[in-house]
């Protein structure tokens, strides 16, 4: 098979496998896991192939059904989505391996459906990334959201209510996105992203375009959990099964953030996003508030999953802040933070899942002695926590570095202060956990048993891979920026 079909394969393989799984699941309950992992691994290979192609030849365009854009659906892959696609595939493979034991313990008997829906979710995410068609993005967005609703609903006893909330709010978000698409379609008669970007040039004065931009921002803001539209996020992340949290938290909001970047910088052009609207200015303030708000609320949590969920809200703030700064450094910082945060959050939620798997608790107070029973997991936690705080040489430091650089280049000192304060607040809540994990003085019988009881290998290895990734990404960050992220910066951003 030649390489030109890779863009469709990366979506098609997981989709087909996800429909085979229920059939196979009728007579074999073990196979779906292997099939899901294999499908994701195949997608990863395809994504790497695409990445390679993009790096060598520049953007790829793939015409579905042979119809030329703007009539047919076009898959359009440039550096930005090739990069995020590789990231999503990579994290997916490892979280999928990780999920086997966890989901068997937490939801016995649901494995078949779990892997079916997980693959659908994966398909949705990848679909959003490869496609170059606004409406197709909506379809894949809803595929991924629907699968996410289903996955979250099999969580703990509060999961159903959290899911319902998520469904309602998520649907509003999707509707707003669709409304934005509708207005763009009305104004231009096209749905193709690149077609739109040329057709829109003479229309920037029109109110319709402004309205549609606002709809996009609201819709995608909901989908990525941007403050103050984040209300679905903490419940959904917290009450989902641990494997699902570990999958959704690092990926879903990131892909929504990608769509946001795509819409604001490819569909609309930079001059519109920054000059015609005061929106970027407002958004960056919202992001700043999100950063502080998420961190402060995270401090007050006693449930570690809740804490991580609020920390996600603040991290989304970082991503939006970087993008809205409107300069090269900030943009690079954002994209780098998408990468880094996916690794960090994936690692952290996976660790929490491993703790739940072994000790059945997610209350931070009960983590005493954890470093004795699960030394490697604790070490991985320490690495991920340091990265969240942004201490060198972990990956988190470098995204912060670029974000601060961006804020300074933009002359917005307030945001420098915000990022500084936020990293201190991060330090407060992560060191609280670290203290409990490593040094909590013995107090009565609430501590965990002392004997070594490390997570099973199929969970431990993904955790360690992600933790090692955090360290490696730190050292490789400049290389990654030079190779890929530097190319993603949209024209017009200096």
């Amino acid at each position: 098979m030649d390489h030109s079909q890779l863009p469709i394969l990366v979506v098609l393989i997981p989709m087909l496998v996800s429909f085979v799984i229920p059939l196979v699941g009728i007579w074999n309950k073990k196979l779906p896991f292997y099939m899901a992992t294999a499908a994701m691994a195949a997608s990863l290979l395809a994504a790497l192939g695409i990445m390679n192609q993009v790096l060598q030849q520049g953007p790829i365009s793939y015409r579905l059904g042979g119809w030329a854009p703007p009539w047919g659906i076009e898959y359009y892959i440039d550096h930005l989505n090739a990069f995020i696609m590789t990231l999503v595939c990579f994290i997916s493979v490892f979280i999928c391996i990780y999920s086997r034991k966890s989901i068997t313990q937490e939801r016995p008997g649901k494995e078949v459906h779990f892997y079916c829906v997980l693959l659908l979710l994966f398909t949705g995410l990848i679909g959003m990334l490869v496609t170059g068609d606004m409406f197709n993005i909506y379809v894949f967005l809803e595929i991924s959201s629907l699968s996410a609703y289903a996955l979250i609903a099999i969580g703990d006893e509060k999961a159903h209510f959290a899911t319902f909330k998520y469904i309602i709010i998520g649907t509003i978000g999707a509707c707003f996105y669709l409304l934005g698409v509708g207005y763009l379609y009305m104004a231009t008669g096209s749905l193709n992203i690149h077609d739109l970007s040329t057709l829109l040039q003479p229309l920037y004065g029109s109110k319709v375009i402004v309205v549609s931009a606002i709809f996009f921002i609201i819709g995608l803001g909901i989908k990525m959990g941007l403050f103050p539209l984040h209300t679905w996020l903490p419940g959904a992340y917290t009450h989902a099964p641990s494997a699902v949290s570990a999958y959704i938290a690092p990926l879903m909001s990131k892909v929504a953030a990608y769509v946001f970047i795509r819409v604001m910088f490819t569909v609309f052009d930079v001059s519109f996003s920054f000059e015609n609207l005061p929106i970027m200015e407002i958004l960056s303030w919202i992001a700043a508030v999100a950063i502080i708000f998420g961190s402060i609320v995270a401090i007050s949590q006693s449930d570690i999953k809740m804490m991580l969920a609020y920390s996600s809200i603040s991290q989304i703030g970082y991503i939006v802040l970087g993008v809205t700064m409107g300069n090269r450094e900030g943009f690079i910082g954002s994209v780098l933070h998408i990468l880094n945060h996916a690794f960090m959050k994936g690692c952290l939620f996976a660790i929490v899942g491993a703790i739940i798997y072994r000790h059945g608790t997610r209350a931070i107070e009960r983590f005493g002695n954890l470093h004795r029973t699960m030394p490697l997991t604790s070490a991985a936690f320490a690495v991920a926590a340091l990265s969240m705080i942004g201490l060198p040489p972990t990956a988190g430091f470098f995204s912060k570095w670029y974000l601060v650089l961006g804020a300074i280049s933009a002359g917005k000192w307030v945001f420098v202060v915000v990022i500084m304060i936020s990293s201190l607040l991060n330090a407060v809540y992560f060191f609280r956990v670290v203290e409990h994990v490593f040094w909590k003085p013995k107090s009565g019988g609430t501590d965990l048993p002392i004997e070594r009881n490390e997570a099973p290998n199929s969970m431990l290895i993904p955790i360690l891979v992600l933790a090692a990734g955090i360290l490696a990404l730190g050292f490789a960050s400049h290389w990654i920026i030079e190779m890929v992220i530097g190319q993603t910066v949209p024209a017009g951003i200096l």
Partner: protein
Amino acid sequence: MEIIHSIRPLLAILVSLAAAILILFFGKHRNIREFWTLAAGVVKFGLVLSLLPMVLDGKAPVTEILTLADGVSLKLRVDPLGLFFALIASSLWIITSIYSIGYMRGLNEHAQTRYYFSFALCLSATIGVALSANILTFFIFYEMLTLATYPLVIHKETPEALRAGRKYLAYTLTAGVFLLAALVATYSFAGTLEFTPGGILAGTADKPTLRLLFVVFMIGIGVKAGIMPLHSWLPTAMIAPTPVSALLHAVAVVKSGVFGCLRMLWFVFGTGLLSDLGVWIWLAGFAAFTIIVGSMVALTQDNLKKRLAFSTISQLSYIVLGGALLSESAMIGSTMHLVNHAFMKITLFFCAGAIYVNAHKTKISELNGIGRRMPYTMAAFTVGAMGMAGLPPVAGFISKWYLCIGALQAEEMLFLVVLLASSVLNAAYFFPIVFRAFFRKPEPGAGEDGLPSGEASLFMVVPLCISAVVSIALFFAPNVPLHFLELAKTVVQQVLQGGQV
């Protein structure tokens, strides 16, 4: 300066990292574990020492590891000031390691593996700080040092220790954030982060911005350097085991702070820019304030380690003051005080630790007559005390001499007075201890049992005697064998020449 590529600076850092892993690996066998500690110490010292001839020849060994951002790489460069600090740290590590073995075994402490592990990490970070070629590399090692020290501070794991640890982190991490902001700003102004004699910031932004930047830098670096009012983590961190305090206060952490301070003053801002901006006087003022107030607070402390801690705070500000005065002698004095204070203060802490292990005394008021039972220890303590007060024939005299001359050169009589007054205060809080130890009889109530029957174990006494002897030797021959004075003079020449250009 001629640049030669060499992997030795990197090796010097990696040695103790490797040792840290080996220590973790052999955690169950204490002899092997401690062998690695010592072996790494010796090898590291050897490596640093092997760099000395090159630097004296005017060459600068450089290791460029990888690029971190446009124009900034993880880069090590051995210049005279860095080598100066690296020599201090690596030589003292050997002594401290030997002493630690005695101390930890003497008290039968828990979690010794973690202790040696963190200790080794700490030293890696310190050498890294010393040899970094740019601010980003410096910052990376600086933060690593913060983290590696944290397990040492909370070694006891009591609620009090944890509180101290939290305070330590709160101060140092906040400082780290300030430093990060400052360095990002520097990068965006100057486009480079390379340490250059004479500075990189001159003319890159308007004066008020640069002044602000200076303040942010000094807040960032001043916490570890213990400049008042940013010092208060330091006495609290005294909860740590004594070798840690010794390391913290004499070698690694606070010295990295003042070393960083000198780096920022001379190699980022540059003497010319500093006097242009007029900010040096602010820093000198704060330093002078710290010198006096630190000494006065030390007077009121009864806990021996706390008194030493405040003495550290005040002595470190000598270095900062010397750095800020910008006259040649003051700068030489300031550099020399890095090494002199290190050896003298580590002697004092070693003595305090020996007393604690042997007699379980922490309060000065309980030390009556202890000198008769532990004569070597207390003799060494006396040497350290004399050095602190700046009396010959101990090394402290030399640095203080240069500092005073420097104050005269800078025509700032106020600071001369401060220096002299501080010497008197130093004498006032150290000599009563010596007096008690040798000339007072033990309290009758405490009985003869309250005092040890003899010296602490050789593991402890030998290191403290060595450091005391070195403190004296540095007075008589500051250039032999490690060429400290020569290095200091080279540094200052470089900086002043750079500043003129």
